[in-house]
């Protein structure tokens, strides 16, 4: 894991001091709420429906046990004993008092954490592959590059008032576990025929009200020019991104309106100029950072043998445990999606337990996933059974990873001031409807994602089944989308037709899964069947009942 030196620490300490001053000025009435708003947003502090919400950055989703424990302690000390892990690999606290915020930031700074740029029209926290450094299919560990990106984007003076927020994801595997093409910039580390590593830049993807899959802008940027290329991409956007309409201000609209070729031409021109300025950190800096991400001290004699005689354990292993590149080790996914639970929520006790387990069993490391789960990246297979028992006791052993119960949902109208409809109750009802794990496994991989408004924080466009909450004349209404997908075969979901009420949407989801079960061919996932047979059979089944009942 990366560790701060005196420079990194000085930066977060300076931020705490600056924010304390800003809060004091606000509480004293020296600055208005209008003036304070952009300042607090730069620190991830939102005013929600009932209280302030603080969003804490978890750079590229990576945490040590000490950091994780602090997240649990903050939940107890300043919130109501729980936290909410988000689709951007961060954590949010929903019941924060303004006067406590500087103290929370100080507590975070004591464990090398912060809330810098978790909001506002700036470069947000960089996200990455939750299996980085552990995945069997990994080409290059993206974390050192993500850390380089974190430092470059932190308090970048030119790009703090962009037209709109800016999200970057970076991966180093062929399998895309970070929805990279649905980001403002997605970077994939690739290898050319000569065996050299390069950065493939996808620019202009995104969800929100105009979902777009990012086109390739830079085919193969040398890693030691990555920062210069980013400067070029951002400068073109900062100068020419639309500022007349907030809903057309993301970079995807610019790339779409001028075209990928023209955007690329402008970036290349800027890039040529920027390369002359010497803005790029030297190779020695990348090497220094890489030193923090060396492989942990694996036991070379660890066994691959696993006693699967306990059927519940066997189910969990089959569903939640992934292949590790090191023999005798495994990647453990802890689902934060118990039946009827709030997706992504964890109690302070659960958070601390996961911290303890990471210290004991996973070389002191945890990851947060964009699917709102937690990963222990390096667990010895011999430890799995004992680990599972402890997770099970704490209600953390739901064996539903990537199944219909593993729902992504935004906070929705229960918390969020932007939402049009509640997301959480819908997630809970669907989770309960499909509570039977055998039924979930029969349905296989099925990613269900719920957003409470068109801003799409719940990634509904990318769900095999997506649900979008809207407000229809003061009544919450839910639209159903089918066929979205993230990863190498990224696609955007298509709306089925008229929306439903809260119970109706649960029924509609069930009908869609019935169609899949009836029509699927051998080995097909829900999304594969949808792609093969198209919308018509689903639509027919979903809307049939109303006609039949008159």
């Amino acid at each position: 894991m990366y560790q701060y030196d005196q420079y990194d620490q000085a930066m977060v300490d300076a931020r705490v001091a600056e924010f304390r001053d800003q809060v004091e000025r606000r509480l004293a009435g020296d600055i208005s709420e209008d003036q304070f708003k952009p300042l607090r947003l730069k620190n991830g502090l939102y005013l929600q429906l009932h209280a302030y919400m603080l969003r804490v950055a978890i750079p590229y989703g990576t945490l040590s046990s000490r950091q994780m424990r602090m997240l649990g302690d903050i939940a107890d000390k300043y919130d109501r004993g729980y936290g909410h892990f988000t689709t951007r690999q961060n954590i949010q606290y929903n019941w924060i008092k303004l006067q406590d915020a500087p103290d929370i930031l100080a507590d975070l700074a004591s464990v090398e954490m912060h809330a810098i740029q978790t909001s506002g029209n700036c470069i947000r926290n960089t996200t990455s592959d939750q299996f980085a450094g552990a995945a069997a299919d990994e080409l290059v560990d993206p974390r050192p590059y993500a850390e380089l990106l974190r430092q470059w984007s932190t308090f970048h003076p030119e790009f703090d008032y962009l037209p709109r927020k800016f999200k970057i994801a970076i991966i180093g595997s062929e399998t895309d576990r970070a929805a990279m093409k649905l980001h403002d910039i997605g970077i994939q580390l690739v290898q050319n025929d000569a065996g050299e590593i390069g950065c493939k830049f996808y620019v202009g993807g995104g969800m929100g009200r105009t979902p777009m899959i990012a086109p390739v802008i830079g085919d193969f940027v040398p890693p030691l020019q990555m920062i210069s290329y980013l400067e070029a991409c951002l400068r073109v956007y900062n100068r020419y991104g639309r500022r007349d309409n907030k809903y057309k201000a993301r970079i995807k609209i610019l790339v779409h309106e001028i075209g990928a070729d023209e955007y690329r031409r402008q970036v290349e021109e800027e890039f040529k100029h920027i390369l002359t300025l010497g803005l790029e950190p030297p190779a020695a800096e990348l090497e220094r950072i890489k030193g923090f991400f060396e492989q942990p001290g694996f036991d070379a004699n660890a066994s691959d043998e696993l006693d699967l005689s306990d059927p519940d354990f066997a189910l969990w292993v089959d569903q939640n445990v992934h292949a590790h590149k090191q023999p005798g080790y495994a990647i453990v996914n802890i689902s934060l999606k118990p039946v009827g639970g709030i997706p992504g929520d964890a109690t302070a006790d659960q958070i601390r337990l996961m911290a303890d387990l990471a210290l004991e069993h996973s070389f002191d490391e945890l990851r947060v996933t964009h699917a709102q789960n937690i990963v222990l990246p390096h667990v010895k297979k011999a430890d799995l059974y004992g680990l599972w028992q402890k997770l099970d006791e704490a209600g953390l052993a739901s064996a539903n990873l990537d199944l219909i119960g593993d729902i992504i949902a935004c906070p929705g109208l229960d918390y969020c001031a932007l939402a049009n409809a509640r997301s959480i109750p819908v997630a809970q009802k669907i989770s309960e409807r499909f509570a039977d794990l055998g039924r979930q496994r029969e349905l296989g991989e099925l990613k269900l994602k719920i957003s409470g408004c068109i801003n799409a924080c719940g990634h509904h466009h990318a769900g095999h089944i997506g649900i979008l909450g809207v407000d229809r004349k003061g009544v919450e209404n839910y639209q159903l989308l089918l066929g979205g997908c993230e990863g190498a075969d990224t696609s955007l979901g298509t709306i089925t037709g008229p929306g439903f009420n809260e119970d109706g949407i649960v029924d509609a989801v069930e009908k869609a899964t019935d169609v899949y079960l009836a029509k699927r061919a051998e080995g097909e996932r829900f999304v594969d069947t949808f792609r093969r047979i198209g919308m018509a059979p689903f639509k027919e089944a979903i809307y049939a009942k109303e006609t039949a009942n008159g």
């Binding site: 930066m11 300076a14 430092q151 970048h156 100068r239 500022r243 803005l279 220094r288």
Partner: protein, 143 residues
């Protein structure tokens, strides 16, 4: 109107009024120009040697185009006064300085003392820009 300018330069202020970028192109004797957010700062690059003052207007502090305009001018060698004008607030000063601004004419007055404090917000910087401050990576790896 602007009445208080914070200036961090030793030379004499320019007395000429700033003209628009469009007008500047037709006036070979103008030495001061004012850039609006939608203007292309690159249009000034052929004329940098006869410019003594560039004002960059921020009609709203949330419009960050002026930061890029400032950096572009400095990156191409502009050494005259670079003044941020308009909705320029205390909390933006340090970033503006890093992008090359060396004078400020805010709509709402800012004291010199407060400005100095704002410039000192960041003990270190992660990026190399045009203000000459060494980036953290450069300090970590002295040449």
């Amino acid at each position: 109107m602007v009445e208080q300018t914070l200036r961090f330069r030793d030379d004499e202020p320019v007395g000429d009024p700033a003209v628009t970028v469009d007008a500047f192109a037709d006036q070979s004797n103008a030495t001061a120009v004012r850039i609006e957010p939608g203007d292309d700062a690159r249009a000034l690059l052929p004329h940098l040697d006869r410019l003594a003052l560039v004002e960059v207007n921020f009609p709203a502090y949330t419009d960050g185009r002026g930061y890029s305009a400032a950096r572009i001018l400095r990156e191409h060698g502009y050494a005259g006064e670079l003044r941020a004008v308009g909705d320029v607030l205390l909390d933006q000063l340090s970033h503006m300085r890093r992008c090359g601004f060396d004078s400020f004419a805010p709509n709402q007055a800012i004291s010199a003392q407060a400005a100095e404090k704002a410039f000192a917000t960041w003990p270190e910087v992660y990026q190399k820009t045009v203000d000459g401050r060494p980036a953290i990576w450069a300090k970590r790896h002295p040449a």
